[in-house]
């Protein structure tokens, strides 16, 4: 019987072309959002390709230059000698560490427009290369992107609310509710029959579109774990949609008029999508204040000055700690490159506590957000969408950790050679450490997304349950 009732509801909906408009609106916005996201992905890919091209040419140049300098055919200063590890490791030989956009990156831009996705690792200290921000009009960063995740977070709930805010109230106002309920059917069952075609239509649209657009070239489904992640994207979308439907039913079940329902639901939308996130943002910043980076700049500068002042002394101490790195021949003032090694080392060591404090505060903020995100399905969904698309801060710190290890490898290669005053040969260029980004384990991502899914289904279930109960007490007649 439910099926037959649903076909009537569908026919009723189709009469004023509601399904068509919904399909059109969600279809266009999703397609546009995904296209926009894929533009950003290709922008990143092109930039990465350009960087790699530049790296290839630069290293090729080194291979060419070294024999020329060795043969004495070219005169160079100590700053630009391609044979000196101190000169090469500082820039001309540097390689890029790159976090390529994930295969599903077109789904959500997320935080990826805020954090650098590639940088040139040198023998210098981390802070000299870490802030390789992409150029973007700050107004656009402030605004955020029109991507698939925006459509799902903001517009999708509005479509859901627009087609279900008067689910029951319209029948009451239209007078059909009394006639329908004088038949042997209970209101919850009738509501279900009215709800399911809407759920089917509104939720299946973005699900099918995400799958379709990703399969049709918007994404790279061969990426590691892409299948699982896409499946979880779909699951999160469905759960998020169900939450909003449940909310609409619960509000309808109160028995207020359509206009009141619309106001209440608009208010709830604002509460969950805008207010709770902004208040949480403020609360998190108050609980774990990140001092202005100005403080870190100062710390770096002070540490750098101190290290420079006692450079020679630092070097002596450094060599005491690492006797194996001492140059073969004794005597003579340490050269600029050698001193720089010691200064870098000391500066980095002195700044590390300050840097750690920043990281700890940001990590504290993230942990608090992770805990309190369940207050608003929008926050849960946003984090989950970013996670699927590989645009989360989590993936960025995963990348940073790898870059950190690589930086150490880079230094481990160059520093001993600098201290031993070795000279590089053309063949050495190929032995410079190289970086390859390892994607996060899909199990880890799936674990996080699983929690998010529960965090959406549980409130959806609770709200739906409450709505169901209230429907049983719905004031069919009178006030």
């Amino acid at each position: 019987m439910l099926l037959r009732l649903m076909t009537y509801e569908w026919r009723n909906l189709s009469a004023d072309r509601t399904p068509l408009w919904i399909a059109l609106f969600l279809g266009l916005t999703m397609a546009y959002g995904t296209w926009n996201g894929s533009q950003w992905v290709s922008f990143q890919r092109e930039t990465i390709e350009a960087a790699r091209q530049e790296e290839r040419e630069r290293l090729e140049g080194l291979r060419r230059e070294i024999p020329l300098v060795e043969a004495g055919e070219r005169k160079v200063s100590a700053f630009t000698d391609p044979r000196l590890p101190s000169a090469v490791g500082r820039g001309p030989g540097a390689r890029y560490v790159v976090m390529p956009p994930y295969g599903l990156g077109a789904l959500a831009v997320g935080q990826s427009d805020l954090y650098p996705y590639y940088f040139k690792v040198t023998t210098g200290s981390k802070q000299t290369f870490l802030n390789n921000d992409e150029i973007e009009n700050p107004v656009h960063l402030l605004t955020g992107r029109f991507d698939a995740s925006f459509v799902l977070l903001y517009l999708f709930p509005l479509v859901i609310l627009a087609c279900s805010y008067n689910l029951v109230s319209a029948e009451k106002e239209g007078g059909t509710l009394a006639l329908a309920l004088s038949q042997p059917i209970a209101l919850p069952a009738l509501t279900m029959a009215k709800l399911l075609p809407r759920v089917g239509l509104v939720i299946s649209m973005p699900v099918l579109l995400s799958l379709g657009l990703m399969a049709a070239g918007g994404g790279d489904l061969r990426a590691e774990g892409a299948g699982i992640r896409l499946a979880l994207w779909v699951a999160i979308t469905v759960a998020y949609g169900l939450f909003w439907f449940a909310l609409a039913v619960a509000v309808n079940a109160w028995g207020r008029g359509s206009a009141t329902n619309a106001m209440v639901l608009a208010g709830l939308w604002l509460l969950f999508v805008v207010l709770i996130p902004s208040v949480l943002n403020v609360a998190v910043k108050a609980a774990y204040p990140v001092p202005s980076r100005v403080e870190m700049i100062q710390a770096m500068r002070v540490a750098g000055d101190a290290a420079t002042r006692q450079g020679a002394h630092l070097l002596a101490r450094y060599l005491e700690d690492h006797p194996e790195m001492a140059p073969a021949e004794k005597g003579g003032a340490p050269d600029f490159g050698t001193l720089q090694v010691a200064v870098n080392e000391a500066t980095e060591r002195a700044v590390q506590p300050v840097r750690d404090r920043f990281d700890a505060q940001v990590a504290g903020q993230q942990a608090m957000v992770d805990r309190f995100r369940f207050l608003s399905p929008a926050i849960v969904a946003q984090a989950a969408f970013n996670d699927v698309a590989g645009a989360s801060a989590g993936r960025y710190s995963h990348f940073l950790a790898q870059a950190d290890i690589y930086h150490r490898q880079w230094r481990d290669y160059f520093v001993p050679r600098i201290l031993r005053k070795e000279k590089l040969a053309a063949a050495d260029v190929d032995r410079f450490p190289a970086f390859a980004y390892r994607e996060e384990e899909w199990g880890q991502v799936a674990g996080r997304l699983g929690v998010a899914l529960l965090g959406l289904l549980l409130p959806a279930g609770l709200v739906a349950g409450a709505g169901w109960r209230w429907l049983g007490r719905y004031p069919i007649a009178g006030s």
């Binding site: 530049e54 604002l270 980076r293 957000v369 946003q382």
Partner: protein, 474 residues
């Protein structure tokens, strides 16, 4: 007029007695007050940090000891973006532009450390600032207060009664608008007073005088904007067949205006006036710079300069020159660099400005874009004022370089023997002082946006009057 006031009073009384609107108004007020207080607190902390950092960087400069002027030029100073008091109302683009720039030899650096990078992704969903409340929530409150202004009276049957009494539609509309304004005023006037107190408390010395006209412009613009929203709401309420339709239409407009249009405008601006990648930008700048000497390496340009100098002073070897060749060469390289920077950064900033101009064209359809621009502008947190500061910092950098290079040119021994300068030279460089532009400067740049808001205000009044005259009574 008397009739209008009478209607306004009735509307006002009715709204004050409605628990829903009292609740909604109280929430908006609480959020606004909270946002202002938080803004004031963070402004106090951040501006104190910036001030002390600016003093520290100055002290470091002065106490750098004896060294070669060019080493000092490399050492450089930092410039920290000051926070103007009004930024506590609207952070604008501040979280997304860096807070500090290193002013060193040879290079115009980018601003580093965007505060948003030290926040979680939740920040992207929304930030609780005065601007958020004023630009998103207050218009929503207006919509909720007015969507049933006409349609509700028609549904209740009181509209026919009103018109039968000889009330004119224009009087009715004006009365309703005044009633809404009064109801909003109950919440917004205390908030504005609170905000003013916060701004005064946040301002040091002469800053209040500078902040006052900016606050005036900002407040006036917000009033016009709220007026426009009220007018549109009343017009829709009169036009719509039912309250339900009026609410749907207005919520749709609110959402398009506040959420969709800014993103679409950003995309449009990017496609019309694409900005380069940071990589391409740096590469292109590197290429342009490589065409000159960088002061360290004798290149073709350096050789040409040397020949030119020898010819000018009519000597045959560099040591015989009355000036130090290295100093001249360094300054020459700076001059070349400055040309390149002016061109590269000039083009980049013009590119962003062109994008922002496209936003202002879209704003004719979504006035929220114009209001956002005006608000950021007078708060001193828009991109134009970021570049204004960046330019001042760059000027200061160039002044340091000139001072150091002149010292080298005229004082350093021509033999190339080491030359060490001391505190007298460092003191020759005046401390960095920055004055934010005046309100008039901002108003001039915000003229298109001000035009949009004023246009919408005027248009919405006409629209409301027109819709009220054509209203269906039953």
């Amino acid at each position: 007029m008397k009739m209008t006031l009478l209607i306004a009073r009735k509307e006002f009384t009715e709204m004050l007695r409605d628990g829903r609107f009292r609740g909604a108004g109280a929430i908006v007020f609480t959020l606004l007050a909270g946002a202002l207080l938080l803004g004031w607190q963070s402004h106090r902390e951040v501006s104190a940090q910036h001030r002390s950092a600016q003093e520290a960087t100055r002290a470091q400069w002065l106490q750098q000891g004896k060294k070669n002027p060019h080493s000092a030029a490399h050492y450089g100073v930092y410039a920290f973006k000051p926070q103007v008091p009004l930024s506590l109302v609207d952070h604008g683009t501040d979280p997304y532009t860096g807070v500090a720039v290193w002013l060193e030899a040879h290079k115009q650096n980018e601003f580093k450390y965007r505060p948003a990078q030290d926040a979680t992704a939740v920040q992207r969903l929304g930030e609780l600032t005065g601007a958020t409340v004023l630009q998103l929530l207050v218009p929503l409150l207006i919509v909720l207060l007015t969507f049933s202004a006409f349609s509700g009276e028609r549904e209740l049957g009181t509209l026919r009664q009103l018109f039968s009494l000889g009330v004119s539609p224009a009087e009715l509309a004006a009365g309703k608008a005044l009633g809404v304004a009064a109801a909003l005023g109950v919440w917004l006037v205390p908030a504005a007073i609170l905000g003013s107190v916060a701004i005064v408390a946040a301002s040091g010395g002469g800053e209040v005088m500078a902040a006052a006209p900016r606050a005036g412009w900002m407040g006036l613009s917000y009033l016009l904007y709220f007026g426009a929203f009220t007018g549109v709401s009343l017009a829709v309420s009169a036009w719509a067949p039912s309250s339900r339709v009026a609410l749907m239409v207005l919520l749709g407009f609110w959402m398009m205006n506040g959420l969709v249009a800014p993103r679409v405008a950003a995309d449009l601006a990017k496609s019309q006036s694409p900005s380069p990648s940071a990589f391409a930008f740096a590469q292109q700048m590197q290429l342009a710079l490589a065409k000159g000497s960088d002061g360290h390496d004798p290149g073709a340009r350096a050789k040409a300069l040397e020949t030119e100098l020898l010819k000018k002073y009519n000597v045959d070897r560099p040591e015989a020159l009355p000036v130090n060749l290295l100093g001249v060469r360094l300054q020459d390289s700076e001059n070349h660099g400055n040309e390149v920077f002016d061109e590269s950064y000039g083009a980049l900033w013009e590119n962003f400005a062109a994008q922002n101009r496209i936003h202002q064209r879209v704003a004719w359809m979504a006035p929220g874009l114009a209001m956002r621009s005006i608000s950021m502008g007078f708060a001193g947190t828009d991109f134009a004022q970021h570049t204004h500061f960046a330019k001042a910092a760059e000027e200061y950098r160039r002044m340091i370089q000139r001072t150091m290079n002149e010292e080298l040119t005229h004082r350093a021994p021509k033999t190339g023997a080491p030359h060490l300068a001391g505190p007298e030279l460092w003191n020759k460089v005046a401390p960095f002082a920055y004055t934010a532009p005046e309100a008039g400067w901002v108003a001039e740049r915000q003229a298109p946006a001000l035009g949009v808001v004023a246009g919408w205000f005027a248009g919405s009044i006409l629209l409301a009057g027109w819709a009220a005259r054509r209203i269906r009574v039953v």
